[in-house]
């Protein structure tokens, strides 16, 4: 198990290196600079001296290869650089926002799990029933509905019409502020989990060993608990892992809409003003998060299904 764990962890390193290089190259060639972005809203006249001073301060007038060397050297020392805009270390900016992003992603995933998996199970146990039909229509709608639009609908309904919840913001970090953005973000993984669970359960229910269990006189409840649930678990863990890993990236739109102070909104703002160190650092953290979650999922596979460890 230790070798398996170490191997999976070491596999993260080349992926991170490739991603870091790609980010650097992409943001070195896209048009627009941080200095130019300061005048982009037209609210002040361009100041060539200031542009020159900023480009010099941030090393933007150095050759690409020199900037690349500095970037890689810093990265190797776990230094994500300094923000052009705030002049603070990028790692501090990410730290300030990371907890809010994690809160949102965890809450969305919990919501998706708690609602999606039981719905998928029940729909599969009663295929063709009203519950099954409603669940699948809901799942398709959840997958196809744009999150921004869904978020607005939730705001109108739960904040404006019913006045149950605040429509925006982090507030003092209370649970009430978290509900609307988390539910909006959780709808897509919920729909996916419900569909995946239903398909997985139906598949297992038709397997030979289920028929054998039934013919041995085992009760329906025991069959579901001992055989169906355990066999579907790998599928659910896979879906949860993939979705959970990508939730922080997906949260960009939700964070903007609900004025939620996560790293998604930090990324969007930083791209717009070409604050390249923050863009690079934030994307790297999102990718790292995805990889860590996937590695964790692989390790969980090994724990719940010994066949995977043997392979």
């Amino acid at each position: 198990m230790l070798r398996f764990t170490l191997r999976r962890i070491f596999q993260i390193i080349p992926t991170v290196v490739v991603v870091a290089l790609l980010i650097f190259v992409i943001f070195s060639v896209v048009p627009g600079t941080f200095a130019a972005s300061l005048f982009a809203d037209g609210k002040r006249a361009a100041d060539p001296q200031m542009i020159a001073r900023l480009n010099e301060e941030f090393g933007l007038n150095k050759p690409l290869i020199e900037r690349f060397t500095t970037y890689v050297t810093d990265l190797a020392q776990f230094d994500l650089g300094t923000s052009f805009r705030t002049r603070q270390p990028v790692i501090d900016l990410i730290n300030d926002r990371m907890w809010a992003s994690l809160q949102l992603a965890i809450a969305a995933m919990v919501f998706a799990l708690v609602v999606g998996v039981p719905l998928g199970f029940l729909a599969a146990l009663r295929p063709g029933s009203v519950l099954d039909t409603v669940t699948m229509i809901g799942a398709v709608s959840g997958l196809s509905m744009p999150q921004f639009w869904l978020g607005l609908l939730m705001m109108y309904l739960f904040a404006l019409q019913l006045n149950w919840l605040p429509s925006f913001g982090y507030g003092d970090g209370s649970f009430r502020n978290l509900i609307l953005p988390a539910v909006t973000l959780g709808v897509t993984p919920l729909a996916l989990l419900a569909r995946t669970t239903r398909a997985g359960v139906l598949d297992v229910l038709n397997a030979d060993f289920i028929r054998t269990a039934h013919s041995k006189g085992m009760s329906e409840a025991k069959v579901v608990r001992w055989h169906v649930a355990r066999n579907v678990l790998v599928l659910i863990v896979t879906t949860v892992g993939l979705q959970f890993g990508s939730l922080i990236g997906q949260a960009v739109v939700i964070e903007k809409l609900f004025a939620w102070p996560g790293i998604g909104s930090l990324l969007v703002d930083s791209v717009a003003i070409r604050d390249i160190p923050v863009v690079q650092g934030t994307i790297l953290v999102i990718v790292l998060w995805f990889l860590v979650i996937n590695t964790a999922v692989d390790l969980i596979y090994a724990a719940i299904d010994p066949r995977i460890k043997q392979e």
Binding site: G32, G42, R44, A45, M50, I273
Partner: protein
């Protein structure tokens, strides 16, 4: 038109501050929105040129001058009076004796010298350095050739003498967000970005990155009886649609409106009386690059101005959230010429002008444009059929906002569409059309006119404000006749406010930025605000 606008502004003001006579109420919490992004770049506002940080500045800091929205001009803020030398270059300021920083330090001349040196320090590359450059000797200091700014002189603790490079109105450069005064007794300058200390009516309480800044009433503020509010939550809300819901749900007290919301709010009885409008100091335009052959000819540029029906676009696309532009200087500028008519929509005249210029068969050009709904690709798409009718083919070249800035300041365009600062100081606004102003600075259309330069130079030397404005008015009319740009519109900024809010002002420099120390909340506010 100017009179009408001023009246409208005053009426709006009357609505916003109608209950002033009844007595301002002390206490309460204002929930104010900062709509220009999802974060504050820094709390060290001297380092930031962004509008977003001005929301913090208004609460926590003060500069030597401030903008008076009612008088529409800069006024002394941190000095009780000033003496000006015969030639207008030396100003002696008698500083406020009752002004105290939030850390308890009384304001002295040392704080000004410290702050202006910090802003101009070549190691800092702060945006306000260009404003400090108006002080004699600052240029040398900015490039590291001098250890002091020679134009700054402390007479005593309460008297400061500043020598400027010319007879300018120092109110404009020294009222800026980036030229506020910091205390000179703070050893660790990095603390300005984490726990700001200023002279403003509110002290810094808390910053939740990406969410809000909270400030609280400063009991030793120098204005007697102010501020009225106990606390302000300055919340970050970049999304229009989300702001709309929050405003209707009474979670926020003010909201800046876009064109669509403006139209919707005007149609609702409960909201249409709660709008504050002002003509801001931005001119939306399409700039023509004279390096592109057809744009060398003035008649071609004039033809484009005649060929586009700007009022129609303003009505249909911008939902009347703008005023049609006649020239460069906006309606709220003291040098605006209300008698000078705008280019009339006249396609036949446009065709005739094109034929005279040798372009009877038209030509094709590219407009670099950002996605902005009021001055970007949608507007270019709207003018496309209009120019097609006179034989001109327009091709939009969509770019991101920061790429637009880069393309324009590096002269890499045939034409661009942008919104540019055109006030409040007409002298500074028209500087962008002086032939000595670099293209990369703000003379984006490489404009050069000897006649204009002569008038502008005369205005620069003129000390009588009325005569100066008259010269600038003439200079502005020359720019209009030469049409280096298509004059589209002047922005009409609109702010919706809750009925319990009073003291808002029609700030033409940026309506979203309000003097918090003037604002108060009446008894009808929800309990969460009282």
């Amino acid at each position: 038109m100017l009179k009408t606008l001023t009246l409208a502004a005053m009426l709006s003001l009357g609505v916003a501050s109608g209950a002033l006579a009844a007595g301002e109420r002390q206490g309460g919490t204002l929930v104010f929105t900062a709509p220009y992004g999802s974060s504050f770049a820094t709390l060290d506002v001297q380092a930031s040129p962004n509008t977003q940080e001005e929301f913090i500045t208004q609460a926590i800091h003060r500069a030597l001058y401030s903008w008076d929205s009612i008088q529409n001009k800069p006024v002394l803020e941190l000095a009780d009076s000033e003496d000006v030398s015969e030639d207008g270059t030396v100003h002696t300021y008698h500083l406020r004796k009752n002004a105290v920083f939030h850390n308890g330090k009384p304001l002295t001349a040392d704080d000004f010298i410290y702050s202006y040196k910090r802003i101009a320090n070549p190691k800092n590359a702060f945006p306000g350095a260009s404003f400090i450059a108006n002080i004699k000797g600052a240029d040398d200091y900015i490039v590291g050739k001098a250890d002091e700014i020679s134009g700054l002189k402390k007479i005593d603790d309460n008297t400061l003498e500043i020598t400027y490079t010319g007879p300018i109105n120092p109110g404009f450069p020294l009222m800026q967000n980036t030229t506020v005064i910091y205390p000179s007794n703070v050893e660790d300058e990095s603390s300005f970005g984490k726990s700001p200390v200023g002279l403003g009516a509110f002290t810094f309480k808390e910053h939740v990155p990406g969410s809000q800044v909270v400030v609280e009433k400063f009991d030793k503020y120098y204005e007697e009886g102010k501020p009225y509010l106990d606390r302000i939550n300055i919340v970050l809300m970049a999304e229009d649609a989300a702001r709309d819901v929050a405003f209707r749900n009474k979670e926020i007290d003010v909201s800046i409106l876009g064109p669509t919301q403006y139209q919707a709010y005007q149609g609702e009885d409960a909201l249409k009386g709660q709008l504050l409008e002002v003509a801001e100091v931005y001119t939306r335009n399409i700039g023509f690059n004279p390096a592109f052959e057809p744009f060398k000819d003035k008649r071609v540029r004039q033809a484009i101005n005649h060929a586009i029906n700007a009022p129609l676009i303003i009505e249909r696309l911008v939902k009347n959230k703008a005023y049609p532009a006649s020239g460069w200087l906006p309606i709220s500028s003291p040098a605006f010429d209300k008698d000078k008519p705008a280019y009339a929509f006249d396609p036949e005249k446009a065709k005739a002008l094109l034929a005279e210029a040798g372009y009877a068969d038209g030509f094709e050009f590219e407009v670099t444009a950002s996605p902005n709904e009021s001055w970007g690709v949608p507007i270019v798409e709207a003018i496309l059929p209009m120019l097609k009718k006179v034989g001109i083919t327009v091709k939009p070249k969509p770019v991101e906002s920061s790429a637009l800035g880069e393309a324009v300041t590096t002269n890499n365009f045939q034409a661009f569409i942008w919104s540019n600062l055109s006030g409040p100081d007409p002298l500074n606004a028209l500087r962008c059309y002086h032939s000595k102003t670099a293209q990369s600075a703000c003379n984006y259309t490489s404009y050069a006119s000897a006649e204009f330069d002569k008038l502008y130079d005369a205005a620069q030397q003129e000390r009588d404000p009325a005569k100066q404005n008259d010269l600038l008015r003439q200079a502005n009319n020359i720019v209009q006749d030469d049409a280096p740009v298509w004059f589209f519109n002047y922005n009409k900024a609109v702010m919706a406010y809750q009925p319990w809010i009073h003291g808002l002002v029609p700030n033409a420099t940026e309506l979203a930025v309000q003097p918090y120390d003037e604002i108060w909340i009446d008894e009808t506010a929800p309990d969460s605000r009282k």
